[in-house]
Subunit: 199 residues, 2 copies
DNA sequence: CGCAAAATTGACTGTTATCAAACTTAGTGG
DNA sequence: CCACTAAGTTTGATAACAGTCAATTTTGCG
């Protein structure tokens, strides 16, 4: 893998585990204390409200890390979206805090804050544009890529419905801003225009 | 102050500074690296979109800490809402990461995730109920308290408009769930019912 | 008391959700 | 290879929640 590991310097040992599409990585109440780096595939972290409404908190792509918790137990679900390989890195039990782990936690917090900006004050078109640009940026600024997640996953990440996501995709496509090479493969035809839509 | 300091154990020196209502604590682009504990008063952290829409990321009350950043510079505004006293604690420059700071960062991340749940998938009534219950819990589970922030601040925190906030307050009041002792002082008359509304 | 800012209330609008149906796609077995 | 199926996606018609615009009331402060 060409991505430089942000976990370089961790003294902990780690093992690699593969998960099938849809497989659960952890669930609310599970013991926390291990965190994960995505080697390949993609992960979805989410939680359900009592009546079944779902909010996806984050997607994690190859090279990214997740699974830190403030408490001893997890409060979200983590699932593999596609077949996914994870390095499990156990947090030192002695309470020692490495600067790397702190940096990862702070980056996670910044990411969460950007997410709040997106769903708190942006329209459906702005959210979808922002999501697509973010996906491209996180994969090195490529102009086309496969979305590992379904429209429902995207809707639950952006606080929209599946129908609205579909309609906005159609709108961006007919405006010539994106092209759907296939249902899951998006090409950003006018990246700068898309960026300007993110408000 | 009766609140146990979560920063106990930090070797750093600190100073205390007072800010008037509305005063800026930091702004986007300002050098980061210092974090703050609220001694008295309340703080609002927010960001503006290009067209003036505002999202409040967090409120911080007495005893709470904020100001950590992943980058060298801040990406949000922090302002005192009322007259506020802050202990400024400089992050050790040698890159050392104390377990306490990591814990604070992880708690901040959890708080951000709860916020995403709230604005991503909940209705106006659920958001306001959740907000009021959270405010009570953070002040030790008291049944009445003063809101330091305006309706506009609350609206921008919850991703609503000031009119919607006002209408939901009226609705909760006429349902007997809350009482407005004054415009800024809320009494939670039926805390458990309010909790059940948070979904 | 008088003024400006904040909050409330009302009428109406609009974006997004909901409900429903049709269409695609990928996978399975004849 | 081609139906057949089921899941996922798209599209359409309608509804609802929250937003916008506007006017009024309340509050806090000089």
């Amino acid at each position: 893998m060409s991505i430089v590991s942000p976990t370089a310097g961790f003294p902990s040992t780690y093992s690699v585990v593969t998960f099938n599409a849809g497989a659960e990585i952890y669930a609310p109440g599970d013991k926390a204390g291990t965190f994960y780096q995505v080697e390949f595939g993609a992960v979805r972290v989410h939680r359900l409200l009592s009546d079944g409404r779902r909010q996806v908190i984050a997607f994690h792509l190859a090279g990214e890390t997740f699974g830190f918790e403030a408490d001893r137990t997890h409060s979200f679900f983590a699932e593999a979206i596609t077949q996914t390989g994870l390095r499990a890195i156990s947090r030192p039990a002695n309470g020692e805090a490495s600067p790397e782990l702190l940096t990862l936690a702070l980056r996670g917090m910044l990411r969460a804050h950007e997410h709040i900006m997106m769903i708190g004050r942006q329209t459906a078109v702005e959210r979808i544009s922002g999501f697509l640009v973010d996906m491209a940026d996180r994969q090195g600024g490529i102009e086309y890529f496969d979305l590992p997640m379904s429209r429902l996953d995207i809707a639950d990440y952006l606080g929209l419905t599946i129908e609205t996501v579909s309609r906005v995709f159609a709108k961006l496509r007919s405006a010539g801003l994106i092209k759907l090479r296939s249902i899951r493969c998006v090409e950003l035809k006018k990246l700068e225009t898309l960026r300007s839509l993110c408000a």
